[in-house]
Symmetry: C2
Subunit: 350 residues, 2 copies
Amino acid sequence: MTSLFRPALSKMLPYTPGEQSAPGKVIKLNTNENPYPPCPAVVKAIQEAATGNINRYPDPMATAFRHAAADALGLPGPEWVLAGNGSDEILTMLVRGFVGEGEKLRLPYPSYILYRTLADIQGASWEQVPFNDDWKLAAEFGETSDKLKLVLLPNPNSPSGTIVDQEEVAAIANSLDCPLVVDEAYVDFANQNCLELVQQNERVMVTRTLSKSYGLAGVRFGFLIAQPQIIANLAKIKDSYNCDAISIAAATAAMSSQDWLKDVVAKLNATRARMETKLTELGFHVTPSHANFVWCQHPDGNHQSRYEYLKANQILVRYMQFPDWGDGLRISVGTDDQIDACLMMLERFS
Amino acid sequence: MTSLFRPALSKMLPYTPGEQSAPGKVIKLNTNENPYPPCPAVVKAIQEAATGNINRYPDPMATAFRHAAADALGLPGPEWVLAGNGSDEILTMLVRGFVGEGEKLRLPYPSYILYRTLADIQGASWEQVPFNDDWKLAAEFGETSDKLKLVLLPNPNSPSGTIVDQEEVAAIANSLDCPLVVDEAYVDFANQNCLELVQQNERVMVTRTLSKSYGLAGVRFGFLIAQPQIIANLAKIKDSYNCDAISIAAATAAMSSQDWLKDVVAKLNATRARMETKLTELGFHVTPSHANFVWCQHPDGNHQSRYEYLKANQILVRYMQFPDWGDGLRISVGTDDQIDACLMMLERFS
């Protein structure tokens, strides 16, 4: 690496997102996308925006979206919402906002390793606190420490699909003296969330994405829900025009389509239940999921060979291996046909 | 400001972009947008992308765009190009890549004050080297110093619209030991650029945007041209999916429409020449422009009152005031009708 770069970057490894594939050729169950096309109102909004004023800069604060999100989620007002170019950008802003060089962030283990990359880029350190065997959090997760400036909790978690109860999250937040960010990328597939806690404690912040439940991974839109004084200060860090006019139009239409969301989530959760039953029948240990994927481990431990067998048969799932913890398969909830094909191949393997 | 944030952020002021206005009501000549709609091929690409796989994550490296850009600009290959969510994001990556907390970046004065904000966010410092009276750069601009990790040169510059010759830029780059980023946001309106220097010196990097000449400010797309080893390392800093599927499709179509670009630039440059002549007749001192705006100063010094007079008459231009240097009006090149209206009001004022 050329010596022009900051030393913190020379030793870091980049985050590697899930494999992409040419559309149509492969059944893609590896990056937790929604297998269904987005709401027709969203497609219409994009096509209208294309002939709008795209030669003009977009609204820097995505005002229309903030209103739609506040309405859909029952927030006190749009000033509780900050829009971002995917929740990845929101997470980047949070790390840049709260964690300086030489400071520290905390995450549970196993969970979303992107958080570690964000710390590395910032020249900060990270510490991982293992989940208990029942996927609850050890008391250690809520302990304060001198350099600790940010705690990140994916909830529901990946790869496990498990969820930590709102009461437990509240207790952690209250014992910490730094922000606790609850990453709710998958929360629309669960039966609870932490929005209430945001109103009770300025140190609780919730991130959301339109990439999963709303079927808009290609559009890059995520947002933060936090108290207005937090939003106002974080906005200083963001690029002036971080969301484009077309994605603002798409995201606004998506948030205004809560009936569509309810339907698609019901459909995916029904498929998930079927996956859980069948995988259990096939001898897998299945962790009950609150997300649009299922984490499963087979007693024979042949996870990597199953991953490769599926891939050879044009089915892409995620093989994940966590040092000192274990490995398994994370299978996104697809359409019923896709999941039938996947389950059939897994049956054939065993 | 709540004490949860990094200290570097508590003292900084946010960057304030130019005023926005509801479309249609106002003649907007304040943020250097292209007044013409984008190429029809771009609109078509967006509308097609809307019904494509937007439920799937986009290509993390925007491969199609990189090929189109390399072809259009005669670069050795796509690995010389890094795509970003506007050139703002590219500039953010560059500052994060090269400048650590407590280190320093340099910019000329007066120029683009966003660079200072980016240093502030990073907890770094910035120093400004004044342009000479003839808009050339003082030797000081090329001097090395211990903490100096990045030098930024908007070329053509804003607010002046002036350009520093390629030979002069090469000499500065050779005397520095840190990267020199040439921000060529406006270069399509000029008659030279610094792409050749990138191939000669790994410390020279060029940023471009589709917001100005291509008429796509609403789409947020910019890119970096640098040597492949620089691009590969900077890619580690970017969000995994920093450009969305729709803007990649739009930007790829735009880069493949070089004939359209040539025509719209010729039209705008003809309008610019007319603006320069008429403003001179109206008694302004006009700095000859190589960009899609004109910087003008009137001997009577009544710039702010002209700005307000125009605004009261539904014409928005940029009043800019640079401490220890002076003030003036920066007027974007609009359509002929828009410029006629603006010039008529300025004539009426005087």
